[in-house]
Symmetry: C2
Subunit: 454 residues, 2 copies
């Protein structure tokens, strides 16, 4: 629509400056030292929602980090869209690999480099600017609610309670989330599913104290060696996961579904080159897109034990640790998998050590239908601004709260992400292309228009 385009073109630079300001707040939810930054970030979002034209914005405290709720109600009889997003970010470490400060955003080659630029401050802020566009051009034809939490990156431990206790407040006709990626600006896509998650931490204890590796080495089990043997046993020679019952509930894709997936463009050489690897790795019998989309996985997210500093220390450590997470696919349940994972790790612990494993957080897998009104509105909106229909794809990541939203609020979710897989989410040098940011701001008003009229 011409009025939107003009308004956005005129305010382009401000839209960017405002985002950069939000990116300067180190809202790392995993680290308690950032508690004050989290509050500062929530308050910044509140202020921005009010400036964009929201009628009412509230910060709801939780047992963890606060939730920002905002709304612009045009007419209660009209359709309502609930926008979900998160203002928290992943820890920026390892810091030495960043080319610029993770919380000192810079624009290089048309890309915003900063932690949270894409995941998810940049993407949720597109919605704030879309609201502003609709309000300031007097074209808002539906009601919009915002639920922006501060604990997505730590498994949303307090959002469930908030949703359950505020069903009326959050009542809507669909949920719109931009916290995922599309294939490219040339090949727009919409996520039709996300994987679930079971994230645990395991601690292996050998001797009751660190020992001199010369005096005791060879006579006492080394917890690093034992942990390595345990980890090594979790995938067999075909890279199948060996945890008993792990695949029991997996909804196996039909040959038709797999044939459809195989139509998505995928250039293996370009993929390998981008990642700098000579060969890909994965579960035998599945393609790369299947491995990241429809198959569950088990990944080591961290490992540590013994001396990890500069130089050499001849220590036989008392303890070794690992962070391990499984991505789950439809029909798998996070708590069942977590239990199997923990039990299995404890059961394979040899008698020389003690093993403790505990849940960090989990979330259920989610699949969204492609015939819902919300999906169709999203597809139409993308067609309006990209000039082509989006391809439906299964996302490999997880937004643990999706399944809960659907269950508690009884409404469908549409995942309209504007990031790219190459945006270095959770990695050093996270970025968000300016073109994608502006394309998101341009597309979202169409979604609201179509959703209200379909």
């Amino acid at each position: 629509m011409q009025a939107w385009k003009e308004y956005q073109e005129k305010n382009k630079d401000r839209f960017l400056d405002e985002l950069l300001e939000l990116l300067r707040i180190p809202s790392v939810s995993a680290k308690s030292e950032h508690k004050a930054d989290m509050i500062r970030c929530a308050e910044a979002f509140k202020q921005r929602l009010l400036e964009a034209g929201a009628d009412k914005v509230e910060i709801y405290p939780t047992a963890g980090h606060p939730i920002v709720y905002g709304e612009k109600i045009v007419d209660p009889s009209k359709p309502t869209v609930l926008v979900y997003g998160h203002y928290d970010v992943q820890p920026p470490e390892p810091l030495e690999l960043w080319k610029s400060g993770p919380f000192e955003p810079v624009i290089v080659d048309g890309k915003i480099f900063a932690r949270g630029s894409c995941d998810d401050k940049g993407q949720v802020y597109m919605h704030v600017k879309a609201l502003e566009t609709l309000v300031k051009t007097n074209t808002l034809g539906s009601n919009i609610k915002f639920c922006i939490e501060g604990e997505e990156e730590v498994g949303s431990p307090n959002l469930g309670k908030f949703v359950t206790e505020h069903k009326e407040l959050l009542k809507a006709d669909c949920i719109l989330i931009s916290d995922s990626a599309m294939i490219s600006l040339d090949t727009p896509s919409l996520d039709t599913g996300l994987r679930g998650l079971s994230y645990i931490e395991v601690e292996v204890t050998g001797p009751n104290r660190d020992l001199h590796s010369g005096v005791y080495g060879g006579a006492v089990a080394n917890p690093i060696t034992i942990l390595a043997k345990m980890i090594a046993s979790l995938h067999d020679e075909n890279n199948h996961i060996t945890i008993p019952g792990f695949y029991d509930d997996v909804l196996v894709a039909t040959p038709e579904e797999r044939a459809l997936m195989a139509q998505a463009p995928f250039d293996e050489e370009a993929y390998k080159q981008d990642l700098g690897v000579k060969e890909l790795w994965g579960e035998k019998g599945f393609t790369t897109n299947e491995r990241t989309g429809i198959r569950p996985t088990l990944e080591l997210n961290g490992i540590w034990g013994g001396y990890t500093g500069e130089g050499a220390k001849t220590v036989l450590p008392s303890k070794a640790f690992a962070k391990i997470s499984a991505r789950l696919v439809p029909n798998q349940q996070s708590d069942k998998i977590t239990e199997k994972l923990i039990k299995h790790l404890e059961s394979i612990a040899p008698p020389y050590v003690t093993v403790k494993a505990a849940l960090h957080h989990g979330g259920e897998p989610y699949v969204t239908p492609i015939d819902s009104k919300a999906y169709r509105a999203a597809a139409k909106a993308i067609e309006a601004t990209f000039g082509k229909q989006p391809i439906p794809v299964r996302g490999g990541g997880s937004i643990p709260i999706c399944a809960l939203f659907e269950k508690e609020l009884g409404i469908k979710i549409v995942l309209m992400g504007f990031g790219l897989d190459s945006d270095n989410l959770h990695s050093p040098n996270e970025k968000f292309d300016l073109a994608n940011y502006y394309k998101g701001i341009e597309t979202i008003p169409y979604f609201h228009q179509y959703f209200a009229s379909l």
Copy 2:
């Protein structure tokens, strides 16, 4: 001797205070941030040697940390003993496991708790106080030289050059080292050998950057998983080391030697209880004393990769690292083993990753004869103050410089350690029993007396 005893009794408290002052200097050779502390520590030892009666003390700079040389020459025609020790210490980490500051020595239950209390500041300082005793009571009948280096804990990279270039300065009839343990004050022992060392670091690189484990997990090799599989393969089901040719040069102990070793007192239940483990671990077919004394071993000294901070981060890391060291027994050569270890790690790397392995430092194994004049003087000295003959035992640790000393200076080494295996060397809460410290100061003058007269 009565005069020694009286002198030592009178100066007991000062002997302790002086040691505590040395222990307050954080002389961590592995960390470049302690460069100034290293110099301060070398200067403190110089000052103490002069106060104890040395004629001449020099600090020799090296490419790394300086070496303290001191001497008290009574009569060049008399026998000369070269005392070797080191003023550097292991890094104190993990700091949170220390009950008191590693560089804030405290006396609890008759034990000095501090990094370096036993390894080796406390033990080398016994020799300084023994010199003082001999000088101040006018009873020194031999010449004593001191060579106290600052790089033992990082593999003595610069001592070899110093020894080669100062053969005349270091000329002596035997080398006396207190940098090891005895069984107990009730069961004194003398080390007749030390193991060699090959210490390497390995880096496994998967993708060229940290990735989102949901987006890429399952499709790209995780370097932690690969490193774990590599480590797991280094010991077979009998805990034999699988590196091709690793055992080729091992001097196998004869049944007679093993029978002699088996006579050393060993209480397996007490050993397990002290370490807090339910079962011991080790190479099949060998006893615990054999595993730590006459067999080579391979230990993981450190491992790290991915996210190791508080909370959870769903990352598939680019890199994983490990520090690995082998202890070597007589006839094995450090450089040969290092090469085999590095080659093996590179050869088992799957094509999904790149593996780089490099030497930290190495040292040769060492065996000392029990019929040398020096060994007999040490045994007699121990008998004089302990009232019983020492048991000869093989130490599991390494003092890489021993083999070089013998080769370059052509003289025998005697390893008269006064520590205990339970002194938490290289671990949090390192300690040295006051009784052992004073017993060392009491015994060393007898060594000099017997060595000069035997």
